[in-house]
Symmetry: C2
Amino acid sequence: MGCARMSQIPGKRQPGNPAAADDGDELHFCSTCAFSDACVSQGYGKSELADLHVLVEHVGPFRAGMFLFREGDEFNAIAAVRAGTVKTFVLDANGNEQVLGFHLPGEVIGLSAIHASRYPCNAIALDTVMLCRFSFPKMALLASRMPGLQQQLFRLLSQDIGKAELLAGDHPADERMAAFLVALSRRYAARGFSPRRLNLTMTRADIANYLRLAPETVSRILKRMSTEGMVEVQQREIALLDQERLLA
Amino acid sequence: MGCARMSQIPGKRQPGNPAAADDGDELHFCSTCAFSDACVSQGYGKSELADLHVLVEHVGPFRAGMFLFREGDEFNAIAAVRAGTVKTFVLDANGNEQVLGFHLPGEVIGLSAIHASRYPCNAIALDTVMLCRFSFPKMALLASRMPGLQQQLFRLLSQDIGKAELLAGDHPADERMAAFLVALSRRYAARGFSPRRLNLTMTRADIANYLRLAPETVSRILKRMSTEGMVEVQQREIALLDQERLLA
DNA sequence: CGACTTATTGACCATCATCAACATGCGTGG
DNA sequence: CCACGCATGTTGATGATGGTCAATAAGTCG
């Protein structure tokens, strides 16, 4: 249910962030990054890796509540989340927030901005966020020479279409909630975190908004799941006790 | 509300379809096609146009009810709808259909299949459908030499992410219906058809499923819109009388 | 002219949102 | 360390939107 989606990262360097910080050990950089497949697994040599790496700009940290970009900002880069959680959302005609997705480490934001060269949504940090920013024009240029990279970009984009579509299903509230938890668990697991023990970085209201439910409903469902022994809830710590039953 | 989404077109040539039929006048081919911008407006010359055209394979016609591809089929080409309407859908765990989108002439199907190299959904013809099929590997290769084409592909993919996300909003039934009609109208208008007079090719049940409503609800809302003078409904013919009020 | 699919209409009911009150946690500053 | 205040989360009572069920009508196609 996750959904890598939106846009990118502001034009300005954040204070306290030496842009090219850990470049020393960077040639095998973030092994969890969505782009790592692009080169590593495709058997590219050092020179191609280096080409990709010169495009990378480490930015952050962004503190909780900071905007990474706003709707309407000019687009020129996509970014991979290196640490923390990013929430993307739009404001509808009445100014109500509509959460589009949460982005965990290793996932890419900014893809939906390519179309209009402007960010179609806002992105804010839910906790302390670090990003790897890639200039999109340069990346597209490089992709022309690196079929593997082009393919990876196509795949990332394509993947998000499918994810976003599935989100639109009209399942009852408890199924939505269960699916959300299981999906989060899987996404964390894919990055090497525990699939059992989730540490939610978003509020109940954010979850509710994302699932198109009322916050009260989220509370009640969590409580019910808890009394039924499927999960264990302690504030924002959630332990998944019975994956089986959650999938029903 | 549309949403160009899914996959592509079957491996087999349709009987009664001379694959390279109307090639004579084809160099300026379907002017309404989503790819026409890719070259024409980017100032490419005849040779690039020719390169793109040799990739095109006209297939069809597909009669109403025929599958263009099925979930799980191997993916190797995307396609632009040349005529007719395509419905894409998946079957959930209980075998219930979930409509993902409708695709009008000029729109592209198959984009979400790139990710897994398999179609993640089914596509069937709602009426008589003609397609332009493009081998995706060849297209990707060509895109390496044609920045404009690469850019166009990125844009098409990116666009669909945004469309799919917006679809997930939780608006009341009447707003969903109104938005659907207005979006259809715009999409038809963009291809040179009348924005006032819609000829729905899908059943109420399909519309309802797509909007995550019950067919009965669709009926009732259309009736109400009709008595309120916003639209005029005659079977599958719908005239939009008051665009203004529909947008609220 | 039947048999089928599609669409409409009505009666009833379930899910979930809303409203309101209350509890809990957390940060700040005394 | 405790007190206050605000944000977040929980719980209960009530009601509206829209789904379900069932019957009827209207097209469609042989």
